[in-house]
Symmetry: C2
Subunit: 685 residues, 2 copies
């Protein structure tokens, strides 16, 4: 243990070595994992969990708990060990079953699998970035709920982050925003171990990271020896004392400390090996043949975590009682929002609205209307744009901006940082108490895919408002025209892609979006104006149908279709025109509007078969994007009308037409499909 | 023109105002585009193109030209105007047809459409990031070719970048690398106009950007008035003088300068309007009713650009002659590499290798072998990994690392910066003279999608080596297990996704990859070991078949299949086992290996029908990923075996089995498909 200049007191050292040996044993038994970082960060984790974190292991969802994010998710045995010792529902058997089938102790910590894991981490840069969202949620909720001397929202966000976390672009975007927004209750410990997988960090990382964070407006502190527990207390005190800036603590550590592999890349991502485990335990003065050993003294010491947590929780409960007595409505709003419940009648304004007689409007406009129709009833609805608010139409009217000096607004300005927006939107939801949306052009969804995926993976209901959803955006050209983005998003599990066709569908889609509790939603909205549907002259809103993903918008004359044209978004209008042409020529044609493939595929067979009857095999899909994935709906005899190349810079209608998105193409495709059906079975590519 | 403190000399002012008015007119006529930034940056563009850039408009592909990247691609009228005036093949009619159908002057500048456009820009952060790759290519080629006093590679890379460029994470990643690699011949002018679309920059961007770049190891200079042409000369001289660091020039500008919309967001992304155009021309002392006016004096002044360029080109030609005389082989290698030609016999070692009798190997291992088999014959092959070289197996043996003090190596260390790797790989190819690959886990392809797309869009043959390509990677769990990534990549136009099944296919796939000249390639390679195919006992390499995308690996007994199982990568082995089981039960079964869907779909109908005969409708696809897109190959009667949910942390085989990737699932699916065929036509979802 040469590297340790300051040995902790005996009991603390025992605790620290317990965490270290549990981590080693977990990885060794799984024969897979990352032992070195949990060993190195054990003193910091120990000190935070026992002294500084405000948390109650018996109430892991307590609203005013501190948030702790292990951004270096590969060090998962660290948090599992800490949670186990602290009394969360993580058993010693769970530690023994690290990385095994059906065990909650997955290779990387997963929110929802293990109480106390606030955010699923592993993809580097995401945890530290979404933590910015958590710290922001705390400030926004405090601004809204802490009134008349009641301080019911007052907690901190703690992050342990690796070199990789800080190198990733998303973390740089969010760090800049955290500084801009002066999120002082955010503290990031950077595990400065000077080792990455490929060698020492200096092969690729020689910037002055401390100076970089100072340039973002952060306080930067140094913890030169992570084993010095009092020094940890010191930097924590300094972090808390700075009420104007977030804090980065440059934390010097030694990966795999005490093991023969200390300070080498080998300590990062593979088990130490049985022999090295023994040697390391010897170096720790640990029984070398023990496994998953937790000394009684350590159990006793950690029991205090629960006691301290229970006391803190009780104090907060009392504060909450007082708040409830003084401000019952606000207290109820807090409870409701933290539970993710919607208030009665929240959607009334959406449902009451009808656009049948309105003029044409882009679905991005209808989306902006939807946001502002529900915003008065849903104070938790907040959001913003990556510098395209005027194009995405994501501004909540008269709700004010969030800034470093005033967190009471509801509009967020992300700058030109789409990935940060995705990660922060996720962090806002992981914190709870807010429902957040983030807007940009659909093409730039590519910049934030890792964040979208993490929302889907851990079931966060982030709402992504993607506008300018096809080549119809026009002159900006192929760099800005989405082609494969719809298919790419639809391929992702647990994500709803909503592409409404006009105003009524857009409002209904927003209702669907806000009702989601455990999955994210991606809107695809038009730049160009579209006429509202009349729904056959009846005053019928699209609500229920949109929630079913796809529905019969226009039945074939006579009620028995020869051909079905299925489309989404703006191309539903093209489908209607094509259907009229086909019917003129004597072909009974049904038009199916399919704003959400995922919801449609979730419907019972009766619904699906009623909308797309199996015996009607002449089908055409129309969408101004990649045809990829539409084969599922049109089948062997069917045809897809779409764009399987990059776009073209020209006025929108001309661009689409030149790329084959036009009525002629749909009519021709319908004739081809009919011919195929008449030719009988068989499948050609 | 109040903001101009230093009026340029009269002739220069005339030139600058020509650029400004051409830009205004182009946008106004298109009634679409971004006038304000070209107007603001006109003096800088003018001075660079006429004084500082080493370029020859008559030879836009001259190998040793300076590279100029307009990273703020929305300011496209600036580069179009400059190229037109300088004598590139951009006509006044092209300017008049800005953003119109079939015009080369697209909304954002597109490489290949307009000579002189080095990189397709528009998605912010990409141009300035890929410029780092260009500057790196220059240093690497100089290290290799500049010998014995011959300096045939000696040029600079110039970038104009916006606020958005510098906010984007990818630009922060690449800036850190550019500083680390001491790319001193890279100069970035940051258009510090203090305006973004949503307002003044201070709503989201208050960091000290200059300090941030200093922390990366850049020289930071200030150009307080972009209209001061001599000050431009000054910062250029300082940038050139610093031979240890890249340079950022904080360039204070006024968006929409001289117009009634100066210094407002409105000047950014919409035409000024006819009236404002007139008023602005008045302010410039310009004939207010003129359109696309280029005064004769300006024509004369710009003629010098061509003369200077021709002289520079001639000087270089002479240097090249001397080099050729002294070092004929090296000179020929330079010519060949800059033309993207492959040397004779480059693939001999790949083709000669056979693994029929070898042991099992992961395809990532075979990929590493392939790289090292061709590397000796292909000195242009360079590459690296985003800190996973030991896992991606991307190291070129004995070739050395590229570092700030030695650019002669061939191995690049990107750190944990996948997006930077993608952008730099693109920049290396856009520069020319190198063939570059970049490696990471398949899951992290999500981090670099915007870069992959820009490679596909502009036809750069970037090679992305994605390993750990399925849930078989095991214990790292769902955060690391790709599911939708294969489908998402396949949905992208002009990208080949290569997922070979074993060693022979992997070598053949590398041959395909290196032969691409105008599209990128994404490999999907296994972590787990796979046995080499015996190809029916014959010594038959997979080469030709892999190039066709899909082929019959195992014919049904008797030659007439009842069922076809089509699979890619590691699941081809599962398909073979399932086929053996099906045949035991009396079902003649063909196995099709499909390492590349895109190549297969490009084959003539005869090949496709021979591999997947239309009358054999009982088909099953198997891939350990999203089924999305496989319907194209299995059709209505077919079945897909795949994973349409997120993964699970467990040893790889157990994880796959638990997720339904096993022989039983394939056999059952085959029986279902046979039953469907027997039931007759009709399509159910």
């Amino acid at each position: 243990m040469d590297a340790t200049t300051t040995a902790p007191p005996a009991l603390d050292l025992l605790c620290v070595n317990t965490i270290r040996t549990l981590s080693m044993d977990g990885v060794q038994r799984a024969n897979s994992g990352h032992p070195g970082t949990p060993m190195a960060l054990a003193p910091l984790g120990h000190r935070l969990f026992t002294r500084h974190l405000k948390h109650d292991p018996a109430a892991p969802d307590w609203a005013d708990r501190d948030r702790f994010v292990l951004s270096c998710g590969h060090a998962s045995m660290l948090i599992y060990s800490l949670l186990h010792l602290s009394g969360y529902e993580v058993s010693l058997d769970d530690l023994r079953n690290f990385r095994q089938l059906h065990s909650p102790t997955a290779g990387h910590p997963e929110r929802g699998e293990v109480p106390g894991v606030e955010f699923t981490t592993g993809p580097l840069g995401q945890g530290v970035s979404s933590a910015v969202g958590m710290a922001l949620a705390e400030r926004m909720l405090a601004a809204h709920f802490n009134v008349d001397g009641h301080e019911i929202v007052d907690h901190r966000t703690w992050v342990l982050a690796s070199d990789g976390d800080l190198m990733e672009g998303v973390a740089q975007e969010t760090a800049s925003l955290a500084g801009h927004l002066a999120l002082d209750k955010l503290t990031v410990f950077w595990d400065d171990n000077r080792i990455t997988i490929d060698g020492t960090t200096d092969i690729s990382f020689t910037e002055d990271t401390a100076a970089r964070y100072e340039s973002y407006g952060w306080q930067v502190l140094r913890l030169d020896d992570v084993d010095d527990l009092e020094a940890i207390d010191g930097v924590v005190a300094e972090a808390i004392a700075d009420t104007a800036r977030p804090t980065l603590v440059v934390t010097r550590t030694h990966i795999g400390i005490g093991s023969p592999r200390q300070d080498t890349p080998q300590a990062h991502g593979e088990p130490l090996g049985a022999e090295n485990v023994k040697l390391t335990k010897q170096a720790y003065g640990w029984p070398e043949d023990s496994e998953f050993l937790v000394p009684d003294e350590v159990r006793t010491a950690y029991a205090e975590v629960g006691e301290r947590g229970a006391a803190a929780g009780q104090a907060w409960d009392e504060a909450m009682d007082a708040f409830r007595a003084a401000r019952p409505e606000l207290a109820e709003e807090f409870r409701r929002r933290m539970h993710g419940e919607l208030p009665d009648g929240w959607a009334d304004a959406l449902v009451a609205e009808s656009f049948e007689d309105a003029g044409a409007a882009a679905t991005r406009q209808s989306s902006g209307q939807a946001i502002n129709l529900v915003a008065p009833k849903l104070p938790e609805l907040v959001g913003g744009s990556a510098d395209l608010a005027g194009s995405n139409l994501t501004t909540i009217t008269d709700a004010g901006d969030v800034s470093a000096t005033d967190y009471s607004g509801r509009n967020l300005h992300y700058g030109i940082r789409e990935h940060a927006m995705g990660a922060i939107t996720n962090g806002l939801h992981a914190h709870g108490g807010v429902r957040a949306f983030g807007g940009t052009f659909l093409i730039f969804s590519d910049y934030m895919r890792p964040a979208i995926r993490l929302a889907a993976l851990q079931g966060l209901p982030s709402i992504f408002v993607f506008t300018h959803d096809s080549v119809y955006l026009g002159e900006d050209g192929p760099t800005h025209q989405p082609i494969e983005q719809l298919a790419s998003l639809r391929a992702m599990p647990n994500l709803l892609v909503l592409r409404p066709a006009e105003a009524n569908e857009t409002l209904a889609a927003w209702k669907v979006a806000i009702e989601q509790r455990d999955r994210p939603v991606a809107f695809a909205l038009t730049r160009q104006k579209l006429a509202p549907f009349t729904y056959g002259g009846e005053s019928k809103l699209a609500g229920a149908e949109v929630a079913r993903g796809g529905y019969v918008l226009r039945e074939a004359t006579g009620g028995t279709p020869d051909v079905i044209v299925v489309a989404s978004g703006s191309e539903v209008h093209l489908a209607l025109t094509a259907a009229a042409r086909l019917e003129e020529d004597g072909t009974p044609t049904r038009v199916v509007s399919m704003p959400c493939q995922e919801l449609f595929l979730e419907q019972p067979r009766e619904w699906r078969d009623a909308v797309l009857p199996p015996h009607v095999r002449a089908r055409v899909s129309v969408e101004a994007g990649a045809t990829f994935g539409w084969e599922r709906f049109v089948g062997d005899a069917g045809e897809t009308v779409g764009i399987d190349r990059f776009g073209i810079s020209a006025p929108g209608d001309q661009a689409a037409d030149a790329l084959g998105i036009n009525v002629d193409a749909v009519v021709s495709a319908a004739h081809r499909a009919l011919a195929t059906v008449h030719a009988g079975p068989g499948m050609e590519l």
